[in-house]
Symmetry: C2
Subunit: 186 residues, 2 copies
DNA sequence: AGGTTCATGTAACCCGTTACATGATTTC
DNA sequence: GAAATCATGTAACGGGTTACATGAACCT
């Protein structure tokens, strides 16, 4: 059960396709028109990525003919694609995930309600919180020991990193509360 | 005056080499032992990157023989390399820089005291602040309009994005104050 | 004598970027 | 009739990841 060769962009596509079937053009528009604009909407990235997903059996495409309108190729998530999305989302959170930028972790989380449900989302948040809480002190102590020898810009940049992780930790705590509240209503 | 073909890793190397001459091995250790650990310390990335920088005349290497110790190849920034670093750092800040992740912007800033001095660092921070302040409302209004139709995890992920940009804005304001204070002392 | 650290590389693979290319349909 | 939008591709290029490879010096 390994995640063979799907890029972050690939998972982003799987996540969006989970909601509804879309064409490559739809997906490009989606990326450019929502906060997922951090992904490139260039045809040179999306069309090849969709082709790769189809080769691996994670999506299935069909041509949609529309009178008057352009014909287009609609993509739908296959059961294997949905399973691979869940596998990726459920991976344990390790320090390296935190270090290499939290963008991928947030992507994993953002589709989680639909694919895994709130209980798993809560588990994710709890693990995320723990990993953040474990990592921040190492940054703090680096600043403590080296801050006085660093240039102002360097020190400020480091402080920004610490702030960013701390506001993420706050966010995680609040998100956990949101899920606990929504579970009480059941 | 365009920035022909230097990757983010390349600029990170130029920035670190600005402080002192180092070998490839030193640079790998530096990346793995400091908060710059977000860069890969694998030999497969660093040695080829150094070779490319030397081909472009941005660094110059020499072999250092040390009795008893291992011989190693020390890299030094050339004047052209220092100039290219400054050119990269001085580029205007555009919305796209904000959207594609602020890591590269923070990297640009973190070496700025040594290369461009505090006045330029202040200019950078002011532009950064303005660009952030201009971008955040568009995220807010997206949340306003679409939040009610989004799943909880998706909405929380979006809120996290907004929070992150806002804490960055706070940081920028404080950093500006730090520079203004340090200028008063002149 | 054997394992760890120092030190530097190469090569295959994947994939994102950029640019180019095409054609239908809609709008003014 | 021209411009913008819809819609889907291809191809060259660059560079990061991973894995493989080598050898000297140091420590026990």
């Amino acid at each position: 059960m390994k995640g063979l060769g799907v890029s972050v962009l690939g998972y982003a596509l799987l996540g969006v396709l989970q909601q509804q079937d879309r064409s490559g053009y739809d997906l490009r528009k989606f990326f450019s028109a929502t906060p997922m604009i951090s992904f490139s909407d260039s045809p040179g990235s999306i069309y090849p990525a969709l082709r790769r997903l189809e080769e691996r059996g994670l999506v299935k495409s069909r041509i949609q003919e529309r009178s008057g309108l352009h014909r287009r190729r609609l993509y739908r998530l296959t059961p294997a694609g949905a399973a691979e999305l869940r596998r990726w989302q459920k991976q344990p959170i390790v320090r390296d995930d935190i270090i290499r930028g939290t963008a991928e972790l947030m992507l994993r989380f953002s589709f989680m309600d639909q694919s895994l449900g709130p209980a798993e989302a809560l588990r994710f948040l709890t693990a995320f919180k723990a990993e953040l809480a474990a990592y921040i002190p190492s940054l703090r102590s680096f600043l403590e020991e080296n801050g006085k020898y660093m240039a102002l810009s360097g020190r400020l940049a480091l402080e920004n990193g610490i702030n960013a992780y701390e506001s993420l930790l706050d966010w995680a705590r609040n998100a956990i509360k949101s899920y606990e509240k929504s579970q009480e209503r059941d």
